[in-house]
C-alpha cells in the first residue's frame, strides 16, 4: 500500500511517527501551515515557521524516505489578531517555492469579518499563483461555515476542482460534492471522522475527488489513520486499486495541479522507487540521535 497523506502536521510529530508512517506505506505528505496551539504574536513567528516547512521539516522527512510538501497561509484562527494579519504581505515569497502545493489552510474558525477578509485575499493569491487552495472548515457551526466557504470560492473565480474543503462529515459532504470541490476527510480517534464512517461515505458516493488524511498534529490524533482507512476499505470489499486511488492517486491528482510536487507520481506500489531513503539514511544527524 502506497500512501500520500494530504494533511498532517509533522512539525508536531516525532521521529518514531516518521518511522511508523514509512512502515505503513506513507511515501509522501502535505503539511498545511496552521496554528501551533500557542497563538503567535508577530509576523516573524510565522516566517520562521514557514521557513521550517520549506527547510528543516522537508529535510527531516527525507531522512525517513518521505517526500514532504506544504501549504502556506495565514490560518483563520490567527487572522483575527491584527498583529498577525500583516503576514499576508510575505506569503507571495513562499507561494513561489517548489514543494508548496497549495494556499492553505484558509477558511473560517469563528466566522468573523477579519477571517473572511483574510480568506478572500488568500483565494486571490491562489488564483494569482495558479495554486490549489486548502480550506479548513470550522469545528463549530460547520454546516453554515461550509456554506459561506463555497459562496466565497465561487466569487473568487478559482475553479472548484482547485479547491479542497477539509474536515468534512456526513452533514457537510454533499454541498461540497455538489459544488464540484474536492472533499477532505480527517480521520481522528475521537472527533471529526472515523475510518468506518469514511468507508460508508465512500460506499455511498464513490471515490471521485475524495482525499483521506490523518490531520495528525499536537492534539490526540493518529498518523497511521490513512493506512487504517485503507485496511477498513479492503475489509468492506473495496479493491486494492480502489485503496490506491483514494490514498495515492487522488492526492497526486489534486496537488499535481500545482506543478510543484517533489515525489515521483509513479512510485511503485511497494514504495521501492522514488523515495530517496537509501541516499539519505546514512550520515544524517537525526538517525544517529545527534543534536546540536
Amino acid at each position: 500500500m502506497r500512501i500520500f497523506d494530504p494533511h498532517i502536521h509533522m512539525t508536531s510529530r516525532t521521529t518514531d511517527d516518521y518511522e511508523a508512517m514509512y512502515a505503513s506505506g506513507v511515501r509522501a505528505l502535505v503539511e498545511p501551515a496552521f496554528w501551533l496551539g500557542q497563538p503567535r504574536t508577530t509576523v516573524g513567528s510565522f516566517t520562521d515557521y514557514f521557513d521550517a516547512l520549506v527547510g528543516w521539516e522537508r529535510f527531516r522527512a527525507s531522512q525517513f524516505g518521505i517526500a514532504h510538501h506544504c501549504t502556506i497561509a495565514l490560518n483563520p484562527k490567527e487572522a483575527n489578531d491584527p498583529r498577525c494579519a500583516e503576514v499576508l504581505d510575505v506569503l507571495p515569497r513562499y507561494l513561489a517555492k517548489d514543494g508548496v502545493v497549495a494556499v492553505g489552510e484558509v477558511g473560517f474558525d469563528s466566522m468573523t469579518v477579519e477571517e473572511e477578509k483574510a480568506f478572500v485575499r488568500q483565494l486571490e493569491l491562489a488564483v494569482e499563483f495558479e495554486l490549489p487552495a486548502m480550506v479548513h472548515t470550522p469545528h463549530r457551526d460547520k454546516e453554515q461555515g461550509t456554506r459561506r466557504t463555497l459562496e466565497l470560492v465561487t466569487e473568487s473565480g478559482l475553479a472548484p476542482g482547485m479547491v479542497v474543503v477539509d474536515h468534512l462529515n456526513e452533514v457537510t459532504v454533499d454541498q461540497v460534492d455538489e459544488a464540484g470541490c474536492w472533499m477532505g476527510f480527517s480521520i481522528y480517534p475521537d472527533t471529526k471522522m472515523d475510518e468506518h464512517r469514511m468507508v460508508a461515505i465512500l460506499q455511498r458516493r464513490g471515490l471521485d475527488r475524495v482525499l483521506v488524511n490523518s490531520a495528525a498534529d499536537w492534539g490526540r490524533s493518529d498518523p497511521l489513520k490513512t493506512s487504517k482507512t485503507g485496511a477498513a476499505m479492503l475489509e468492506a470489499g473495496f479493491s486494492a486499486d480502489d485503496v490506491d486511488r483514494v490514498l495515492w492517486r487522488n492526492p497526486i491528482e489534486f496537488f499535481g495541479q500545482s506543478g510543484r510536487l517533489l515525489v515521483d507520481p509513479d512510485l511503485a506500489d511497494d514504495g521501492s522507487a522514488g523515495a530517496d531513503a537509501s541516499a539519505t539514511f546514512e550520515g544524517n544527524s537525526i538517525l544517529r540521535g545527534s543534536r546540536d
Partner: protein
Amino acid sequence: MTEIRPLAADDTIRQALDDSAQAQLDALTAEVAEDPSRLGRTFPAAARRTGRGPLAGADDVLLEDAVRVSLVQTAARSLDPEALLAELREVYRYGDNDEKRAVLHALSGAPDDVDGTDLLLDALRTNDTRLVAAAMGPHSDRLDDDSWRQGVLKCLFTGVPVASVTGLARRADRELAEMVQRYRREREAAGRDVPLDVQVVLDACAASPEHHPEQDQHQQEDS
C-alpha cells in the same frame, strides 16, 4: 562587475536540458541579465522550470544547483561585490534549503572581495547536512579558526564527508586534533563506532604545518 565561477560549464548544463528546459533557462538568464534584482524572483522556480538531480558530466553536482549558480553569475556581472552580497543575503534569507545551498555554492566561486561569512555561519548552525557540506566549501577560507574547527567537528558529528571540507590539509592544527580526539574518546566511552573520517582529520592535523612537533610531545603526555 563581479565574476562568479560557475558550478558547471554552460555546455554541461545545457546538455542536461531538453529544448524546452533550455528555453526556460534562456528566459531566466535574460530576466536576471536585464535586472539583477530579479534574482530572488527567478531562484524559487529555477529547478521546476529547468530540471533537477545529479548533473551528468560533473562530479557531485546537482543540476538545480548549477542552474542557480549560473543565474547568480549572470546577476553578478552587473553588480559590485557589495550589491551582489546584499542580493545573495536576501535570496538566502527567504530561500528554501535548496536555494540556500545554491547561494553557498555561488559564494564558493566568489572573488575575495565578496565576504558571505555570515551566511556560512547561519548554515553551520543548521543540522541540514547539505547546507553544512556546502558551507565548508572554498568560501570557508573566510571563517575564523574557531568557527572553521567547529565546522569540521560538525561534519564529523553529522556524517558530512570531510573530503568536502576545503583547506583541511592546510588549516588542520593541534587544537582541532585535540577537539577530534575528545570526540573520539566520547564515542569510544559510549561503546559507539568512531567514524572513519575521525582518523582522516587526525592524520591531516599531524601532517599539517600548523602542527608543531613540540606540541605533539605535549599532546601525547596529555593523553
